[in-house]
């Protein structure tokens, strides 16, 4: 069990690094979703299925989606500005 947790921890750390060092936000949202799955696996290994469940729903699905929507909104705002000029 401890090996499992150690492996999951390492993967989570790597995932965090990938999220942080992905400079383009739309791609970052995809990585964030994967990071959410990694965290859920870690939480399961830590015997916290309820937390893993909310992590899957919130961290792996809802938050990346909100990020994606924000990016779309920002892009359309800026495109509208560019057309005005």
């Amino acid at each position: 069990m401890n090996i499992l947790i150690t492996v999951a921890l390492t993967l989570v750390l790597a995932g965090a690094a990938v999220v942080v060092f992905t400079p383009v936000p739309s791609r970052q949202a995809v990585v964030l979703s994967v990071y959410g799955i990694l965290l859920a696996a870690l939480f399961m290994a830590l015997q916290a299925p309820d937390v893993a469940l909310s992590q899957v729903a919130v961290g792996a699905a809802v938050v990346p989606l909100i990020v994606m929507l924000a990016i779309r909104k920002i892009d359309s705002l800026r495109a509208a500005r560019r057309r005005q000029r």
Binding site: V12, I71, I74
Partner: protein, 116 residues
């Protein structure tokens, strides 16, 4: 020891990400990553070897595993934390959208309104 290092490193990575971010959406996502460090710390604190989740199918005394439960307190804390994180993230993203609308940029290097 290793879980603490990982949790601290995730928080650190998040702050580094904000420090070198060129896009406010990116910065907000990094903030969410920084917060996930706290989940890792809290849950590893509550974890004990050979334990199961604090969900009872029968009375804990009968099942005989009352002594080997994972700490329910930290799990509750982490659940609260995840909800808080989602709220904060969506609010800050809404602010980033507003900044894009008013300033026509989401690059912190180009935002000059609050200098000096």
């Amino acid at each position: 020891m290793y879980p603490y290092v990982v949790a601290g490193a995730i928080l650190f990575l998040g702050v580094i990400g904000i420090a070198r971010s060129r896009n406010l959406v990116h910065a907000v996502v990094c903030l969410a990553v920084a917060q996930s460090g706290t989940y890792v710390l809290l849950l590893t604190v509550g974890y004990q070897r050979g334990a199961t989740a604090p969900i009872f199918q029968s009375a804990p005394e009968k099942a005989g595993y009352a002594a080997t439960l994972v700490d329910p307190v930290v799990q509750a804390l982490t659940l609260t934390d995840i909800v808080v994180s989602a709220t904060v993230t969506s609010m800050l993203l809404a602010l980033a959208v507003q900044i894009a609308k008013r300033h026509d940029t989401v690059d912190p290097d180009e935002l000059r309104s609050l200098r000096g």
